[in-house]
């Protein structure tokens, strides 16, 4: 057990070291959601005057979307890095280590969860600077947990893709997955204002619950009724994609 933990910590440290060694590589994952957030506010900011937004500023409404986008990009980046490791042979060497496959995956995924806090923190700083009210410590903590959870789920999905295609050229497939998962929700507007077809997709998309759970503190009060579906959806996503990724890992080198 202790050895497994040491392996996970070592892999997490390796993942985080990449930020220190190549900080420029982390910039797109931070800047892209920030550009999206500011651009959406600049263009569609007056949408929040519509009934249904509840008088909340569009920036506060869209901020959690960008935080989850940052988590998605981070998860996708984990898959791209894994594909790079596969291409360079480092992954094969890692498989020779006397560590169970789920432990190797846990290390990779845990580093993605922690890295997701970087874009989230930057986005929060920008939003607070532009006038979004401090929602409260519990509300921020809940949003952080959901961001980390979604990053973990997306990292598992991206790992699955990386193991399947074994090339960095599959990067668009990894990014597209998180892009669709986060945006085809109630990302732009409350569910009542969505077109019928988008509302139907949002209703069945588990990320809608994650988003609404993370958003609640920024647009109102945190309630258990909105929190438990978010936690269940996040856990479910991690378990499903985690199980698929572990299966993919176990098939490697056979």
């Amino acid at each position: 057990m202790r050895r497994n933990l040491q392996t996970i910590v070592a892999l997490v440290r390796r993942g985080l070291n990449e930020i220190l060694r190549v900080p420029v590589a982390a910039l797109p994952g931070i800047l892209a959601p920030a550009i999206f957030m500011l651009g959406m506010v600049a263009v569609f900011g007056k949408a929040s005057t519509l009934e249904g937004y509840g008088g909340v500023s569009f920036l506060a409404f869209i901020l959690p979307v960008s935080m989850l986008q940052g988590a998605g990009f981070t998860g996708a980046a984990t898959g791209v890095n894994l594909a790079r490791d596969i291409e360079r042979g480092w992954f094969d060497r890692m498989l020779l280590a006397p560590a169970p496959r789920p432990v190797l995956l846990a290390g990779v995924v845990a580093s993605a969860s922690l890295r997701a806090l970087l874009p989230a923190t930057f986005l929060l700083a920008v939003a607070f600077a532009l006038g979004v009210d401090w929602p409260g410590t519990v509300e921020i903590a809940l949003a952080a947990v959901l961001v980390m959870g979604l990053a973990a789920a997306m990292a598992c999905y991206a790992t699955l893709v990386a193991l399947r295609f074994r090339t960095q050229q599959a990067a668009p497939l990894m990014q597209m997955g998180s892009f669709i998962a986060v945006l085809f929700t109630s990302s732009y507007a409350p569910r009542d204002l969505l077109a019928g077809w988008l509302g139907a997709i949002a209703d069945v998309n588990p990320v809608t619950h994650v988003l609404e759970g993370a958003r609640q503190g920024f647009v109102g009060d945190v309630t258990w009724a909105a929190t438990w579906p978010a936690l269940v959806a996040t856990t479910g996503l991690v378990l499903v994609f985690g199980a698929l990724a572990v299966r993919g890992m176990r098939r490697q080198g056979l």
Partner: protein, 255 residues
């Protein structure tokens, strides 16, 4: 010069078709954003100050076309940079190829791809219930402005590739596509943009191009916006091609 330009354009098109991972973003991203904008923000067409349109899809179609054309410019730049990195550019320079044809071949390919992009989005719009108010003449105007603008964006991509010589640098400008779009009237009317985007959008050439494309789709064949769009596209294209040729000569001098 013309046969060389055509041959290089044909090569660029064949290469593009062989690598669908480069062509897919031209269609996939703008289509997804179009779907999201229409499905998520359709209610905003009821805001005070929003012009009367038959459907929000009609209004957003121009945004999708312009976004796709801009991404086409990035793709054109990446392809040029890959030619430089792979040594094909040096082999071309060593051959008795007219220098200007190196730029014009790639730009011509961008024009052909731009035509396909515009047609794709018009068909997509019609399939999903959009109506083109300007009729056949309107379609021709949209095609005209779109092709010229797509050519200009392609030339801009070539210019950046010639200056940077690196595919990853050209790839790095991808987020700028969204920045330029967000500070234009491509997505939303000028009166409804928030400050300071509304100030920049007034002078952004992309606003004129988007409005020129939108006019015959969502409103009518009113001459002034369409002409402004066409002139903006022509000026952009002329400048981009001119600067690309200057950049090419600069690169040849460096070599």
């Amino acid at each position: 010069v013309r046969p060389v330009v055509v041959a290089l354009a044909r090569r660029a098109l064949v290469n593009a078709l062989r690598r669908p991972q480069f062509l897919a973003p031209l269609v996939v991203f703008p289509t997804l954003f179009l779907a999201l904008n229409v499905g998520g923000l359709g209610a905003t067409s009821g805001l005070q100050g929003f012009p009367e349109v038959e459907g929000f899809l009609d209004y957003q179609l121009a945004a999708a076309i312009v976004q796709s054309l801009l991404i086409g410019g990035v793709t054109s730049g990446i392809a040029t940079a890959l030619d430089i990195e792979g040594g094909f550019f040096d082999r071309l320079v060593a051959s008795p190829t007219p220098r200007v044809a190196i730029v014009l071949g790639r730009v011509l390919a961008a024009s052909v791809i731009a035509a396909a992009q515009v047609v794709y989005f018009l068909v997509l719009g019609l399939v999903f219930g959009a109506s083109i108010q300007g009729g056949v003449l309107g379609v021709l105007c949209v095609l005209g402005i779109g092709i010229v603008a797509g050519t200009g964006f392609g030339a801009l991509g070539v210019l950046i590739a010639l200056r940077s010589k690196s595919a990853s640098t050209v790839q790095g400008i991808f987020p700028l596509v969204f920045v330029v779009l967000f500070i234009s009237t491509a997505f939303f009317p000028l009166d409804l943009l928030t400050s300071p985007a509304d100030v920049v959008a007034q002078y952004n050439p992309l606003s004129f191009i988007a409005e020129g494309i939108r006019q015959p789709i969502a409103f009518s064949n009113e001459l002034v916006p369409m002409l402004e769009g066409f002139v903006a596209a022509v000026v952009l294209t002329a400048c981009a091609i001119g600067f690309s040729i200057v950049a090419l000569h600069g690169r040849l001098r460096d070599a």
